[in-house]
């Protein structure tokens, strides 16, 4: 049984991706037999290129992806270079790690409430500092350059990349390198960037690629913060895919292929950029410049990191305030009065949706845990660790843009007459939950001292007894953390739920994004908060439960 799990895992993870890409490729070349259309034909691409907004939409996809990734990586590198190993760094890590689980949509709502011309920031400064009695007519949200959208992505990707970096730093033994560099007269930041960063970057490369692919093709954040004249390519794909005119689906499929090509192109471009930076970086290293005075840069990076954390925290706070607000006009900092009305109106529905969300997340994560633990155990018993290619496979579902394969998957499911609803949605979620659970659990699982298993075996324990009685309890904390990561990933899924669920399945995220178009900030506040809680509560439990369970077992507390 155990032998088949790796293959099964691969199938669960890549099967839908491959099937979905196939389901996209055929209609992109005019082949959609269920609609009576037979290819091959290039008309879908002709129609796509005839769309007036294509240039802007494609440019948006490129710029948001590249700029958001470069900014996030830059901030993370600066913060790590300036502060890693210090107390401030640990504080920042503590602040940022819960942010990782805040769903993108909730963070985007919060940010929108903060930075809109009528948002909290403007209210705090008005009219005293700005003289604004009414919100200024500034194009801050939905701006054609996608700046608001980039900001929304950066505040979420910085925590992700930072935590990935922290994990990588652990393996790079930075302290010694940094000590050597500093003893040679290098400043802290320069020394770190020259000696530690190259090693760390090679570890976080794949996560960086994930950020690129994600930022280029995200739909929910783009719906909330992105421009609409025209929207980003991915939003337009979803629009085409839901047009009553079936021929629009062909255009959408062609656009999905274009989106995929764009992502592949940008990844290649980034890869070239890596070579370029490596080349000039090594020249910079060889130059021997010491760069001693790095206090300004350290302050700057701390400021950037704090802004990211603050933006999300304040954003969530503003969700809370709006959900409790009675009438609240500009430029008042707080509502005229507070009321439970919004909660009593939306609370019951939100609670029911909470249940549905958790049901889907729970089953998806349970399946993921079974597969991942099975794979890891199989790996342990066979003594063959995951190869480099295996790691790429893990990242593959995260690198293929969702808009490239999910519409195809939906078309495919429909054309084979599969039932829509919860079960396909669970499997669609599994595609994204699996890699994250695997990545989250893999390192602690492998870091476990295998001599424990030898001792337990010598004491007469069979392999499954070792697994259940020794390994799982000792690794309870990472297992629960991986569970929480999986739940957060599932809770945050927008497109898989929307497309594969056929509208019949609503989770907190789809409800919240649907409400976004109505602009009812109070209702969005309720759903945004519920979404945040749904992701944060499992994390809290993952930390609290082992602490309580092992309160008398000192060696299990880090």
């Amino acid at each position: 049984m155990l032998r088949f799990l790796p293959a099964l895992t691969l199938l669960a993870m890549l099967g839908p991706v491959v099937a979905g890409l196939w389901g996209t490729l055929l209609p992109a070349f005019g082949h959609l037999p269920s609609a009576g259309l037979h290819g091959p034909s290039l008309d879908p691409f002709r129609n796509l290129f005839a769309w007036g907004g294509l240039a802007d939409a494609a440019r948006l996809s490129l710029t948001t992806g590249l700029v958001a990734t470069a900014l996030s990586l830059g901030i993370v590198a600066l913060i790590s270079a300036s502060w890693s190993g210090t107390k401030a760094f640990r504080v920042l890590e503590r602040l940022l790690s819960p942010l990782l689980s805040v769903p993108h949509a909730a963070a985007a709502f919060g940010l929108a409430f903060l930075i809109a011309p009528s948002g909290w920031v403007a209210r705090l400064l008005s009219p005293a500092l700005t003289g604004w009695e009414r919100p200024p007519d500034f194009l801050i949200l939905q701006d054609p350059l996608g700046l608001a959208m980039i900001a929304g992505l950066v505040v979420k990707e910085v925590p992700f990349l930072l935590l990935m970096t922290i994990a990588a730093i652990g393996q790079a033994q930075p302290r010694r390198s940094l000590l050597v560099a500093q003893s040679l007269g290098y400043g802290r930041v320069t020394g770190w960037l020259k000696t530690v960063f190259p090693r760390v970057y090679s570890q976080i490369r794949l996560p960086v690629y994930v950020v690129i692919a994600y930022s280029m093709s995200v739909v929910d954040v783009a719906l909330i913060l992105g421009p609409t004249t025209p929207p980003t390519l991915s939003v337009q794909i979803v629009k085409w895919m839901s047009d009553p005119d079936l021929s629009m689906r062909l255009t959408g499929a062609a656009a999905a292929i274009l989106q995929l090509a764009l992502v592949i192109g940008v990844l290649f471009f980034w890869w070239l950029g890596e070579r370029f930076v490596a080349h000039f970086g090594s020249l910079w290293i060889m130059s021997g410049r010491r760069g001693q005075d790095d206090t300004p840069i350290r302050m700057f990076s701390l400021g950037l990191g704090s802004i990211c954390a603050l933006a999300v925290f304040l954003g969530i706070a503003s969700l809370l305030v709006w959900s409790l607000a009675a009438f609240w006009s500009f430029p008042n900092v707080l509502p005229d009065e507070f009321t439970w009305r919004t909660w009593s109106k939306h609370g019951p529905d939100a609670f029911a949706t909470f249940g549905e969300t958790f049901l889907i997340a729970g089953i998806a994560v349970l399946l993921a845990l079974i597969l991942v633990l099975g794979c890891l155990e199989a790996e342990h018993r066979s003594g063959r660790p995951l190869s480099r290619r295996g790691l790429w496979m893990l990242y593959l579902p995260l690198l293929v843009p969702q808009t490239a394969f999910l519409p195809g998957l939906q078309t495919l499911l429909l054309s084979i007459g599969a039932d829509v609803g919860r079960i396909p949605v669970i499997f669609a979620h599994l595609v994204f939950v699996l890699p994250y659970v695997f990545l989250s659990l893999g390192d602690p699982w492998r870091a476990w001292d295998a001599r424990n298993a030898i001792v337990a075996g010598a004491l007469g324990a069979r392999p499954w007894a070792i697994f259940w009685r020794v390994r799982v309890p000792m690794l309870l904390r990472p297992i629960l953390i991986a569970t929480a990561v999986g739940i957060a990933v599932s809770v945050g899924q927008y497109l898989p739920t929307l497309l594969v669920g056929g509208g019949r399945v609503s989770t907190l995220t789809t409800e919240a994004v649907a409400l976004a178009s109505g602009g009812d900030r109070r209702a969005v506040g309720v759903y945004g908060l519920a979404q945040t809680l749904a992701a944060l509560v499992p994390f809290t439990l993952a930390i609290v439960v082992p602490a309580v369970l092992w309160r008398n077992r000192r060696n299990l507390h880090e």
Binding site: P144, W328, S517, D520
Partner: protein, 398 residues
């Protein structure tokens, strides 16, 4: 599964749900009991959502029908769904049992024979519907023929903040005002339903004789007829909120803009919306409504049942309930929805009528007399073209 259904159909004819017998309403209600109706309705307005959930409670109570509101961002999604199901051969139990629909979506579905029916005129409550006085037998000039049943009347009104402006008599005056007060007006981005309604309203008001809009748009007359609209929009757009580089996504999103003081004027398709929004703290209590001197566009909202609904009986029960005096009075209550009723007051019992009479209009709602004359919806072909053109001109690649 299909075999099972077939066997059941032979063994017990009452389980054959394909075509409920409309002449026997009791049988329909019996069949409906226990069914789940997936009502696909636009979910962007929380007040509407609340109303739908109330309807769900009531039909469960009276008929044992479970109503699930599938919240759409765009009604076209539901149309696509049914169409895809038909392509895929899912003819017996599709995902959708009922759709809040009108206009081009209805025309498209009726044209593609995706609708169940005719059923509307056989529903018991059809007897109290004002089928003569209100435009419930045509939908955007397309004959309804019983393929959808009406549940609310809508008419364009403009919401404005009395603290900042006066009512405007016509579209030209709105442009003039917007010129003088740049950034204070916007409308939802087409193809949002209210956004296209604004375009239609503008066109109807700008034309000397809007009668041409009642017939299908042709390649010959389209450019000439719509030219005044594009001239108008070219002049208006730079004066809009955000200079027309961004638009609110939907009608309700405008409420937040007024509440924040970002805009002073917004279009609405529901005369009672402003009052309801004031009661919900979504609008300042200085907001009132006005209509244009030449009248504004009005239409009815309908519900239709897809041909492949597995719960058509349940859906009809819901459709019938929506036309009941109880549901209509609630929908008209400005504290709930503030929608216009489709019922004929003269056909109601005294008790039912008293309920309507007791409703207060609310501070921002115009009386039927003040609402003035209703202008007919143009033929859907105009809207399709205008929405596409709008997207070309203002929606993409500026």
């Amino acid at each position: 599964m299909k075999y099972l259904a077939l066997v059941a159909a032979f063994a017990a004819p009452t389980f054959a749900f394909a075509n409920p017998d409309l002449s026997d309403w009791d049988a329909v209600t019996i069949e409906a009991n226990g069914q789940t109706v997936y009502w696909n309705a636009w979910g962007g307005s929380t007040t509407t959502n609340d109303f739908i959930s109330w309807v769900g409670d009531r039909v469960m109570e009276d008929y044992g029908v479970t109503l699930e509101h599938v919240k759409l961002t765009d009604t076209a999604d539901a149309v696509t769904r049914v169409l895809s199901e038909k392509q895929a051969g899912e003819d017996d139990d599709g995902a959708i049992d009922m759709i809040w629909i009108n206009g081009s979506n209805f025309a498209a579905m009726k044209d593609a024979e995706l609708l169940f029916g005719p059923f509307a005129e056989q529903l018991p409550n059809w007897a109290v519907v004002d089928s003569e006085g209100k435009t419930v037998q045509t939908d955007f000039t397309v004959p309804v023929e019983g393929y959808e049943s009406p549940w609310a009347m809508a008419q364009v009104v403009f919401m404005y903040d009395t603290a900042d402006m006066e009512p405007q008599p016509d579209m030209a005056a709105i442009l003039e005002w917007s010129n003088a007060n740049p950034g204070r007006f916007t409308y939802p981005q087409p193809p949002d339903f209210l956004g296209t309604t604004f375009l239609k309203q503008a066109l109807v008001d700008l034309l000397d004789d809007p009668a041409v809009l009642q017939t299908e748009a042709t390649d010959e007359n389209y450019a000439e007829v719509t030219a005044p609209l594009w001239d108008y929009l070219d002049a208006l757009t730079p004066t809009l909120w955000r200079e027309g580089r961004a638009y609110p996504a939907t009608g309700p999103a405008q409420l937040q803009l007024i509440a924040d003081g970002e805009v002073d004027l917004a279009i609405s398709f529901s005369p009672g919306e402003a009052t309801a929004a004031i009661a919900n703290d979504q609008l300042p209590d200085t907001v009132r409504t006005f209509v244009l001197d030449g009248g504004t566009i009005g239409n009815a909202s309908f519900v239709a049942i897809p041909y492949n609904s597995g719960s058509a009986a349940g859906a009809m029960v819901v459709a019938n309930f929506l036309m009941s005096p109880e549901a209509q009075a609630r929908a008209q209550d400005p504290n709930v929805l503030g929608y216009g009723t489709v019922l004929n007051m003269d056909a109601l019992t005294t008790d039912d009528r008293a309920v309507f009479d007791a409703l207060e209009l609310g501070i921002a709602t115009l009386s039927p007399a003040e609402l003035g004359s209703v202008q007919a919806e143009p033929h859907p072909s105009w809207m399709t073209r205008i929405a596409d053109d709008w997207a070309e001109r203002y929606g993409a690649g500026q």
